[in-house]
Structures are given as C-alpha cells and as structure tokens.
Amino acid sequence: MNEELIISGRENLMVDPQLHIWHWPIPLYLFLGGLAAGVLFFAALFYLLGKEDKYISAVRRVPFVAPFALVIGLAALFYDLNHKAYFWRLYTTIRLESPMSWGAWTLLVITTASFIWCALHIREIFPNWDWKYKWLKELEIFFNKYKKHLAWVMLIFAIITGVYTGILLSAFNARPLWNTSVLGPLFLASGLSAGAAAIVLASKNREERLLFTRLDMIILGTELFLIVHMFMGFLASTQVQIDAAHLFLGGEYTMVFWIFVVIIGIIVPGILDLMELKGRHIPAYIPGVLVLFGSLMFRFVFVFAGQVSRWLY
C-alpha cells in the first residue's frame, strides 16, 4: 500500500479536493472563439481567392456570427475572472511566454477586424443602411480601399485565434491531459469545422453548400486523425499522460467523450456529409448542428477532464 493524504486539512476553494478553477465560461469561450476563427478564416480566404460573388454566405453573411460570438466569449471570460476590476492589466503588457497574454491581444485584433468586416457588409443584412455621420462614411470608404489588407489580417489572426484556444491549455505542464502540442492544431481544426458547419447551415446556394460540406468532411477527418494521434502520443508517453489518456479510455470521461464528441460530433456528421456529396439529400441542419454541438462538447470535456488529470503525487 502506498497512500498520500493531506492530514492538516486543506480545503482551498476551487483547488481541493480536485482542481476546478475553470468553470463553464472557459469552454464556452473556447468554443465561441474557435467558431469565430473558423467563420472569419473562410470569409477572408474566399475573399482573397476572388470568390466573393460565388460564395456570398461565406464571405458576406456568416461573418456576422463572429462579432457576436467574440463579444459573448469575451464577456464569459470577463465573468470568469476573480479580480475583475483589474482586467485592464492584460493590456498594459505583452508577455510572449504566456499564451493568455498574447491571446488577449489577438482577441483585441480579431474582434476589431470582425466588426470592421461586418460593417463593410452591413448592406447584406440591412439593404438600406445609412451610416448617418460623415466620418463613418469616410471610414467605410477607407476600409473598403484596404479591404484586401483587412482580409489578410483576418486570415492570419483567425488561424492564431484558433490555435490559441488550444495552446492556452497545452501550455500547462501541470495538467498532463492538456500538455500535448496536438491540442493547438486539434482546436484549430475543431474551430474550422464549426465555421464550415455554420456556413452550410446559413447558405442557400447549393454549390456553396456542397463546397463547405466537402471542406467540413475533410476537416472532420483531420480532427479524427489528430485525436488518434493524441492518444498514440499519450499512451507512448510518461505514466501521468497514460493516466490522462485513461480518463477517456475507461475513466470517468469515457462515455461523454466518445459518444458526444467523437460519434455524434465527428463521425455521424462526417458520414452524413459524405452521403450528401454522394447525392443523397440530407437536410443541411442535421450535420451542421451536430458539428457545432460536438465542437462545444469537445471544449467542455477537455477543460473539465484536464483539471482532473495531474501528476502522481
């Protein structure tokens, strides 16, 4: 027998008996951030490819999801802070070794870019929109002139935001489940698939829907590949990471991970996407909603399970 017990009675709130410092706002934000990143990535990409008129939903309409998602996500992050009055301290420094620091700056850039992008396309939603003030009109003309630059900024920062949502977690070596570099690309893929799903849900153009269904299927396949890769890495690693993997391989998060994230969130929509591409008619909202749901569950499962995983101690 070997057993370790704290005998002096330590009951630090949110730390004991098991770490639970991050609650629902964090996974919710990670999902919304990933979704916004996915949506803005496709908008910028297809604009830069000169397909603005072909894929109207992707470039002009669905990006309106992003500012809402980002603002709600930021509000969730703010709500989660324990020392809220000092949140501005984030913006008095840039610390490159802290993902949360450069992530905060990235969010500032991508949120601003998403607002500008939507302002440039406001007439898609409100055809008779008038900016009323002259300086706003001039601002619109100015940004229209530099729209290409804006698209590049959006493209790059969308990728950084998508990767950041994963790196935020993978930087913590104290939580073995999070401490894998696959998490960056995995969260990016999950965000991109959510973005593609949102476009499929919103698009009324069959050609556009088929393109994003195909993209969604490819990204879901990549996600599955990365998940397998992650488990291979864990199982070939140290005892703490083997234990971390076992949270999903027989441990307390097994059911919720494999059923909600992998089967309902990745495999089923992937197969439905394939059937749609093979000519069967599948209502677009089924795979779309499943992918978004799976993406959200993925964040919840990962944030909560990661806090359970720890060093032998």
């Binding site: 027998m1 070997n2 057993e3 370790e4 017990l5 704290i6 005998i7 002096s8 009675g9 330590r10 009951e11 630090n12 709130l13 949110m14 730390v15 004991d16 770490l19 410092i21 991050w22 989660d80 802070l81 324990n82 020392h83 809220k84 009055a85 000092y86 949140f87 301290r89 984030l90 008095t92 420094t93 610390r95 070794e97 802290s98 993902p99 949360m100 620091s101 992530g103 905060a104 930087a171 913590f172 070596n173 104290a174 939580r175 140290t238 806090q307 720890r310 060093w311 032998l312 101690y313």
Partner: protein
C-alpha cells in the same frame, strides 16, 4: 542569493503548527491554507513506513506560474521567491492551473494567493513563520548560495529529495529523507 527550505521528514510529527502559524502570520482567510502537511504511508500492516511532509509553494527556479501569468502579477523577487502583486492579478486562474503542486488558491478578495516564504519576515532577517514555530525544529531555511546557511549545511549532510522534479519546475523545497 537563492532562498530555499528543507523539511526533515524524519523529525516532522505532523502537528500542523506550521499551518496555523502561517494562517496567523499572513492573515490567511478562514478555510484556506498556504501550507499543509502530507502523510505518506508505505507498506502493509504491521510493516508500515510513514513519511510526514510539511508542504507549500516550491518557489521553483523554472516557475510555470510566472511563465503563464498574462499580466506579470506573478513574479520573482529577492532570492528567487515567487510572489503575486495583488494590484496586477486579474484572477484568471492560469497560475493555479499551471502549478503541479496545487500550491495556489484564489483569495476571496479576487487575487491569487500563496506562500511567500514570509518575505516580510525574511527581509527583516527573521525566519518564515512556519520554520520559526516548528516544535521539533524540523525545518531549515536560508540562502543556498551561502555555504554556512542552515539549509546549505543540512543539505550537505543529509540525503534529500524534491517533489515531482520530473515536472521540470526545479523546486526549491527539499525534503530530508
């Protein structure tokens, strides 16, 4: 200068005086603690071996909490002591998640709190409260760079270990075994 602490697991009786001393000295809010005592039991009855450890922040040389802090609130001061500036901490919890020793906790006032090696006492030339109060004198504190400090002398004489060195944090809390 490199402050460190050594705890003699053979002398510790697990009385938890160090915990109470810390709570009193540092006005730790009720229900929280910056240090704690761990009992490790090995073997099968009646062949049992017990190890008692008074634990706290390890004031790591490679501190993950300082690395991940987005505002620089967690930082290193004299002699490698890791402290948190209350007026810079936003209470995001990153440092709490990053600590493999779970040595930090969110203070009810919002900022993150932890052991400071009693920096205010150390700067006055005194020992940390836990060390000063220990009835079995099982704790040693001092400067590792000074070969004649309590901690340097005892680490020269005795076998010791650190906790989870494989986490790469280079902890500075030594346990004499």
């Amino acid at each position: 200068m490199r402050y460190a602490m050594a705890v003699d697991t053979k002398k510790c009786v697990g009385c938890s005086d160090c915990v109470v001393a810390c709570q009193t000295e540092n006005d730790v809010p009720i229900g929280f603690c910056r240090d704690w005592v761990v009992e490790r039991m090995d073997g099968t009855y009646p062949q049992l071996e017990v190890e008692l450890r008074s634990e706290r922040c390890n004031h790591c040389d490679n501190a993950p909490c300082v690395r991940c802090c987005p505002t620089g609130a967690s930082h290193i001061v004299d002699g490698g002591i890791v402290v948190v500036s209350h007026n810079k901490c936003i209470g995001c919890g990153a440092c709490i998640a990053s600590c493999p020793y779970d040595a930090r906790y969110p203070h009810p006032k919002g900022y993150v709190d932890k052991c400071t090696f009693c920096l205010h006492r150390v700067r006055e030339g005194m020992k940390p409260a836990c060390v000063a109060v220990c009835p079995t004198k099982c704790m040693y504190f001092g400067d590792l760079d000074d070969p004649n400090s309590d901690v340097s002398l005892v680490l020269k004489k005795r076998k010791y270990k650190t906790l989870i060195p494989e986490a790469g944090t280079k902890p500075q809390l030594y346990f004499l075994i």
